[in-house]
Symmetry: C2
Subunit: 212 residues, 2 copies
């Protein structure tokens, strides 16, 4: 009952790596089992189908990405800072960025799409909590919070996940986010640093800046 779990995790890790690097469609079961050094039957002892493997892999990714967000939520920073931190935490890590933007390549649309969908699903309640806190702190002012948060996330996903966005996109996105949540003009300028910046660290400074 223990060995099985380890094996399943091993297969999951391999699948994860291969899906990311070569894409879901371009990864065959044979690829996976060769890498793992096991037989076909063993693979299907652990997974009902390739499809289901994808499901599990995505589940795993989302889990990993949201657990950081949850701990941020439970901390006691001010709402805006939480927002910064959470949004930063759900941006895909560089290692997860498949080579040559493979995630955006046509053959990987499925995986990409699913990840986005699940991520939104998971993050909406978290960010909604933050917005509620922000309302108490007088930073935000709006109704229908989950719906608004969801739209914000959808927009951010669709606009910025693919590499091709402009400064104008960012400007408009900030503008609309502020209006969406009823925030002060320019109060959400920190978003700029979360998106475009090739600079690695500096998540802390984001908050420092918007108190002008």
């Amino acid at each position: 009952m223990k060995k099985g779990e380890r094996r399943k995790q091993e297969l999951l890790d391999i699948a994860y790596r291969m899906f990311i690097s070569k894409g879901y469609e371009n990864t065959s079961i044979d690829d996976i089992i060769n890498e793992a050094g096991i037989a076909k039957g063993t693979y299907y002892y652990y997974f009902k189908s390739k499809e289901q493997t994808l499901e599990a892999v995505i589940e795993m990714m989302i889990e990993k990405e949201t657990e950081a967000a949850v701990s941020i939520l439970d901390s006691d920073m001010p709402a805006l800072q939480k927002m910064v931190a959470i949004i930063a935490s759900i941006r895909p890590e560089p290692e997860e960025q498949p080579i040559e933007g493979a995630l955006m390549r046509p053959e990987n649309i499925i995986m990409h799409q699913r990840i986005k969908q699940k991520l939104v699903e998971k993050v909406v309640p978290l960010l909604s909590k933050v917005v509620e806190e922000g309302m108490e702190q007088g930073i935000f002012s709006c109704d229908y919070i989950p719906e608004r948060v969801r739209m914000m996330l959808i927009l951010s996903n669709e606009l910025f996940d693919e590499g091709s966005f402009t400064d104008r996109d960012i400007d408009v996105f900030i503008d609309i986010t502020e209006k969406l949540l009823g925030a002060q003009k320019n109060s959400m300028d920190f978003i700029r640093h979360l998106i475009a910046a090739p600079a690695p660290s500096d998540v802390q400074t984001a908050n420092a800046e918007d108190k002008r």
Copy 2:
């Protein structure tokens, strides 16, 4: 030089119908050629690959859907009315709605995604023109028009293409669209009629809060 064109169109029509009704993934080349009564080789004489067939089918759909929009643009209604008409014209026809919401089913994500993407690409310039006209008419007031229009379309696609949206979603979408384009409060309520049929429009309360 004539027969070929007809045949290609015929295959395209068959592929279109089958992709829509059974989904892209669930339609095999054999399905198509059986329906058409031709041999494998003939099919591949006209199409390089299944993938490329999908490309052509989508091209065809988009073309059909946008040509109506273009003629609306060229007419001389007031801007708001044009907007209504164009948005209405790009909503998928019932016949194109695959059975049982097949377009949203996982196996059809690819096709669905591509259609949305291409449609946005095509419609952004058209609606941008309308918004420009609307600005001259004093209805809208904003900068970065194409970016804003694009966001509006992305949101509408992601929110309303799948069946699962609420009245709240519509309310927030209207609110945000007005703010996005700098339109008068409630001036874009007509969107409600373009999206959902069932609900009576009494749920006006959404924006009552943030009037300041």
